[in-house]
């Protein structure tokens, strides 16, 4: 996907309300970002395609929210909408994204980008390709600082070294002058994280930050993110399709399917007792290392979800999951189940969530 981030770096765009320094403190648990009923459409030859359709989530200081779902379910597009970085063919058709009370989606596009760009940072999914091969790592790290806060080159270099140190790049003082191709995949991902942290954001949206990395490097990067987050009480949105990663780092989880949130729950509850058949099916189909004596570990067949997720514009009527759902009944083909509270801190968009949770058949 093409991402235009040029607007994010427009110097004139920095309004006084986004000046550094007058930012309220981050108290653990305080709500920083609240997305409500977000819907995004793409223009296409077949008419408008709904890529995100009624997504809500809340990000709190010092906590990690995981946004999970399969390829194409709208994880990246929804984040780009929050950042004001949607491609020109896309538009937000509904919903709000409140950062500390201000609806970002209600601001002018330039103000939106400036405001979001200062307080909400994003590590992009294709981060490894996002680094410019002709500039040194240090130069790129502090581009935002120079543009936004008028930091001098020299001061910028000092900050860049600090940032590389922060993300544990060894020999930061020397490596700051190197070029991206001299860095390994894991190191480049650290650089991308460092550059997102340059303006000390309140909220960090990390889009698949470890997907391209080996497990051992992934473990290093995840640990690093968790440390930085705890230290700064940052709100973290971790976008991933890896349920193992989610289990290891998230506090809360929002599961997406076909552009919608279908379940939201604290991480322990979700894994112990999913309240949506899609979540349950996903969890079952993951082969796991620790499943000794379980069919999923050795031999046996993997439980699978039949069919495949729908493409935008092909979302079936009724419950979007109904053609693949092993609990579907007649009502599921006609009515859309709303995302309702089903237990304290938990919600599910399934008519029969209570059955899944309570084990009683209606």
């Amino acid at each position: 996907m093409e991402i235009d981030i040029s607007g994010a770096a427009e110097p004139g765009a920095v309004g006084d309300e986004v000046a550094q320094g007058d930012r309220p403190a981050r108290t653990a648990g305080a709500t920083l970002l609240e997305v409500e009923d977000l819907a995004v459409e793409f223009r296409s030859d077949d008419g408008a395609l709904r890529a995100v359709d009624g997504l809500s989530y809340r990000v709190e200081a010092g906590r990690t929210l995981a946004l999970v779902g399969e390829s194409g379910c709208g994880k990246s597009v929804s984040s780009l909408a929050v950042m004001g970085l949607l491609p020109p063919t896309a538009r937000v058709v509904r919903g709000t994204a409140r950062y500390r009370g201000t609806d970002l989606l209600g601001l002018s596009p330039t103000k939106h980008r400036a405001h979001a760009g200062t307080h909400v940072a994003m590590v992009f999914q294709d981060a490894l390709a996002a680094l410019n091969p002709v500039h040194t790592v240090g130069y790129q790290l502090t581009e935002a600082l120079r543009v936004r806060s008028g930091t001098s080159r020299r001061e910028g270099r000092r900050r860049a070294i600090e940032l590389l140190d922060l993300v544990k790049v060894p020999n930061a003082a020397q490596r700051v002058d190197e070029y991206p191709h001299q860095f390994s995949g894991g190191m480049r991902q650290r650089v991308m994280i460092a550059s997102a942290l340059a303006l000390d954001p309140d909220v960090l949206i990390a889009d698949e930050p470890t997907t391209a990395l080996d497990v051992t490097v992934q473990a290093q990067v995840l640990r690093l993110l968790a440390e930085i987050q705890a230290e700064r009480q940052m709100g973290l949105v971790l976008i991933t399709h890896d349920l193992g990663v989610v289990a290891g780092v998230a506090d809360e989880v929002t599961v997406m399917y076909a552009g919608r949130a279908v379940e939201h729950a604290p991480v322990h509850d979700l894994y112990a007792r999913p309240a949506h058949p899609y979540t349950r099916a996903l969890l079952r189909s993951v082969p796991r290392l620790d499943a000794v004596g379980d069919d999923r570990a050795v031999g046996g067949r993997l439980p699978v979800v039949p069919g495949r997720p729908p493409a935008p514009g092909r979302v079936p009527p009724g419950c979007p999951f109904h053609p693949r759902c092993d609990m579907a009944r007649d009502v599921c083909a006609t009515d859309v189940p709303p995302l309702d509270d089903v237990a304290p801190g938990r919600s599910s968009a399934c008519f029969f969530a209570a059955e899944l949770l309570g084990g009683v058949r209606a």
């Binding site: 399969e70 390829s71 390994s184 995949g185 894991g186 190191m187 080996d214 497990v215 051992t216 490097v217 992934q218 473990a219 290093q220 995840l222 640990r223 399709h241 349920l243 193992g244 990663v245 989610v246 289990a247 290891g248 991480v267 322990h268 894994y271 112990a272 007792r273 999913p274 979540t279 349950r280 099916a281 996903l282 969890l283 079952r284 189909s285 993951v286 082969p287 796991r288 290392l289 620790d290 499943a291 000794v292 999923r296 570990a297 050795v298 046996g300 067949r301 993997l302 439980p303 699978v304 979800v305 039949p306 495949r308 997720p309 609990m327 029969f352 059955e355 899944l356 084990g359 058949r361």
Partner: protein
């Protein structure tokens, strides 16, 4: 339609091996300079690998990016020539054969590629893609029977034979991977080399392809070399597992041995880094984090290639006083002496009657025994999580003890030897 490979004769161990590599190496020249490209060195992508693949079995190959897995795969299917070593198909050395005989043998070894999005020509119909190998191996299926063969192949992999005229973009990722598998099966191979065949697929679809591969194996007696970076997937599908690091196999054995009783520090680190989809099993302090990046295969470290990142070498030097004096403070042996694969002897009781060396568990580390005992055990966590598998409906008695053999005292430490001796007052209060 591939026919099941007959296994009517009692197979002795050597006959059982359908594909073997001996001391295989593949290096690529590193060129520098813009106008006059000079060769300034060599990348040793694969450096002395010996492996054997048995009939109807699956050998899993894991290792970090750049460890040489795909290079090995390409040499195995004949896309590239080895720099050194032998490839034997059915016991015959491929390099010493005539071209015709080689092509005939090559037919037996086909490849399934990682990316179902780029490995299929977007301008060819599905029927043409699946029939493509017939143009290379003309005698595989007589010309007149090809149309029917394609339809049967599509059916075999679970696709609608009526879709032969469709193009790849009209299929999902999982379906495209099925097309790739159908193409590989067209010339009735006996071995499929699968290079990350499910890595690009979503979890809900990945299982469909893995199950298909397992069904085909049962039906057709195929052997698989299954390359993947997902250790859980490999554990599920593989009978034997080989772990690669920087062009070498550092540990090999049957699945349970490698997963449950890993000896090489690299294998143990890999296993401990795999995220477990269970929040109650979050990584503990004992996680074996690897420091730093994999070194470049153009300039591999001296001695043991893993010594620049090895947690065990560091620990041995620091805590156990094994001479560690160099800049990296690792035992001298690790820096100077290249470890070879040695049997770990779980079954090494000296008897070699029966000729069955299956399950031989080998690792290349000077201190393999220490590795297996030191540090957090990365093996499967014993803890049973409730898991999502519980179906709705009348629950079993919630008070029922899920494990009758479980220790009756939940506070009891599983390993009393490791419990620090409590203070006196605590001991006294316990006695009451």
């Amino acid at each position: 339609m591939p026919e099941p490979v007959t296994t009517d004769t009692a197979t002795s161990a050597p006959d059982d091996v359908v594909l073997e590599v001996r001391d295989l190496a593949k290096s690529y020249p590193v060129r520098q300079g813009v106008v006059l490209k000079r060769t300034t060195g060599h990348v040793q992508a694969v450096d002395g690998v010996s492996l054997a693949l048995r009939r109807g079995r699956t050998l899993g190959l894991v290792g970090e990016s750049g460890s040489g897995k795909s290079t090995l795969a390409r040499v195995l299917v004949g896309i590239e020539k080895p720099t050194r070593g032998q490839v034997l198909v059915d016991g015959e050395d491929v390099s010493t054969m005539s071209r015709g005989a080689r092509r005939e043998l090559r037919r037996n070894v086909q490849m399934v590629f990682q990316d179902p999005y780029t490995s299929l020509n977007p301008r060819m119909s599905v029927g043409d893609i699946v029939a493509e190998p017939f143009r290379i191996h003309r005698d595989a299926v007589p010309r007149g029977g090809r149309r029917r063969a394609v339809a049967e192949l599509l059916e075999l992999v679970g696709l609608d034979p009526d879709h032969v005229h469709r193009y790849p973009h009209q299929f999902s990722g999982g379906q495209r991977q099925r097309i790739g598998i159908a193409r590989a099966l067209a010339v009735k191979p006996r071995v499929l080399v699968c290079d990350e065949p499910v890595s690009a697929l979503d979890v809900s679809v990945q299982g469909q392809v893995i199950n298909l591969l397992e069904d085909l194996q049962d039906e057709l007696g195929l052997s698989y070399l299954f390359i993947a970076h997902d250790l859980a997937v490999v554990q599920h599908i593989a009978d034997e597992v080989a772990v690669m690091y920087l062009g070498r196999v550092v540990e090999e054995g049957d699945g349970p041995a490698v997963y449950g009783d890993a000896h090489h520090p690299y294998t143990r680190a890999l296993l401990s880094a795999v995220p477990v989809p269970d929040p109650t099993a979050r990584p503990a302090e004992g996680e074996l984090l690897l420091e730093g990046d994999p070194p470049s295969p153009a300039d591999p470290p001296s001695g043991c290639r893993f010594h620049t990142r090895c947690w065990l070498a560091r620990r041995l030097a620091e805590e156990h006083g094994v001479a560690g004096d160099g800049p990296e403070a690792v035992p001298e042996r690790c820096r100077t002496e290249d470890p070879v694969l040695v049997p770990l002897g779980r079954r090494g009781d000296g008897r070699d009657g029966g000729g069955d060396d299956e399950g031989a568990h080998v690792a290349a580390c000077h201190f393999a025994r220490e590795a297996a005992t030191l540090g957090a055990h990365p093996g499967p966590t014993a803890q049973a999580s409730p898991g999502p598998g519980t179906p709705p409906g009348p629950d079993p008695d919630p008070d029922a003890d899920p494990d009758p053999d479980a220790d009756p005292d939940p506070d009891a430490d599983p390993d009393p030897d490791l419990e620090p001796v409590p203070d006196r007052p605590v001991l006294e209060s316990r006695e009451r």
